[in-house]
């Protein structure tokens, strides 16, 4: 994975596979604290304690096309390479929470990348699911909630290309707003 937004896309796809109806993606970055934190919370099927213990092992997967699953090992590696940590909590029937932290200034910390593209792609794949995306920086925060947007659309699917185009630009612009001081 070349950028963390792709890991986020991959992990949120796991949430969708687990039947989640609500998925929250939160990215907090602070130059003051020299930290980057990615959190993904879903209300999907969750995992039993035994599977949870083995889930960072690449040879544990639910995919049926081959016996290797790299999604979780990849984000764990990305975090640990950048002086960070990865953790996962899950309860069968309740959902799953992933946390990955990074030292923001670490030379091996991968760029966050195109998170607007990731959120738009998730919505395109599952327009009926509620996605909440929160981005926090030292200068403020931006929040996007598909539940609110869906209410405004009066039955028109969020999957319509025109709507997706708007969402993509709206998020990119919201992010630029909280990143402004960095330029």
């Amino acid at each position: 994975m070349k950028e963390l937004s792709l890991n986020v896309l991959d992990l949120a796809q796991n949430s969708l596979s687990a039947g989640a109806r609500h998925i929250t993606i939160e990215i907090c970055e602070s130059e003051e604290k020299d930290s980057l934190h990615i959190r993904i919370v879903d209300d999907g099927a969750g995992m039993d304690p035994d599977f949870l213990k083995r889930v960072t092992d690449p040879f544990v997967t639910t995919r049926t096309t081959r016996p290797v699953g790299m999604g979780i090992p990849l984000i764990k590696m990305a975090a640990e390479m950048a002086d960070g940590q990865f953790s996962i909590q899950s309860r069968k029937g309740e959902g799953t929470e992933l946390n990955a932290s990074f030292r923001l200034s670490h030379v091996d910390r991968m760029p966050i990348g195109d998170i607007a593209g990731t959120v738009t792609t998730l919505i395109q794949g599952a327009p009926e699911v509620d996605f909440i995306y929160i981005r926090r920086t030292d200068s403020g925060s931006f929040e996007f909630d598909t539940g609110q947007i869906r209410g405004l659309m009066e039955g028109i699917s969020l999957r319509e290309p025109e709507v997706l185009g708007w969402i993509r630009e709206y998020i990119a612009q919201g992010e630029a707003g909280v990143m402004a001081q960095e330029v």
């Binding site: 994975m1 792709l6 896309l9 991959d10 796809q13 596979s17 995919r63 096309t65 081959r66 699953g69 790299m70 999604g71 990849l74 195109d114 593209g117 990731t118 738009t120 792609t121 395109q124 794949g125 947007i149 405004l152 659309m153 009066e154 028109i156 699917s157 319509e160 290309p161 025109e162 709507v163 997706l164 185009g165 708007w166 993509r168 630009e169 709206y170 612009q173």
Partner: protein
Amino acid sequence: MKTIEDLQKIREEMQSKISLRKDDGDSIRVVVGMATCGIAAGARPVLEALVDEVGRRQLKNVIVTQTGCIGVCRLEPIVEVFEKDKEKVTYVKMDPEMARTLVSEHLVNGRVVQAWTIGASE
């Protein structure tokens, strides 16, 4: 600046059109592999290019969707095209530029781009 008012305008425009995209059996389905392998190989910009091009050309009979691992990870990004009464066409090692050409050649003009299919690649 994109505002909520812009979104409401989009909604009003769409509501005024009679033919919204609907999934009847005659639609063309374009499916992008979006598992770890596909994502790592560049499936996200391919999907975005497909959605954008289908929207720009107002192709109301085309539905772009995502799926998990298709099973040949080394040939990702993979795009499959399903058309009623036709054999499935599997495009491999796609990029956004190719995705846009796929829309104009295959979906609009009805010409399969043979050189990019799994048959030509294997």
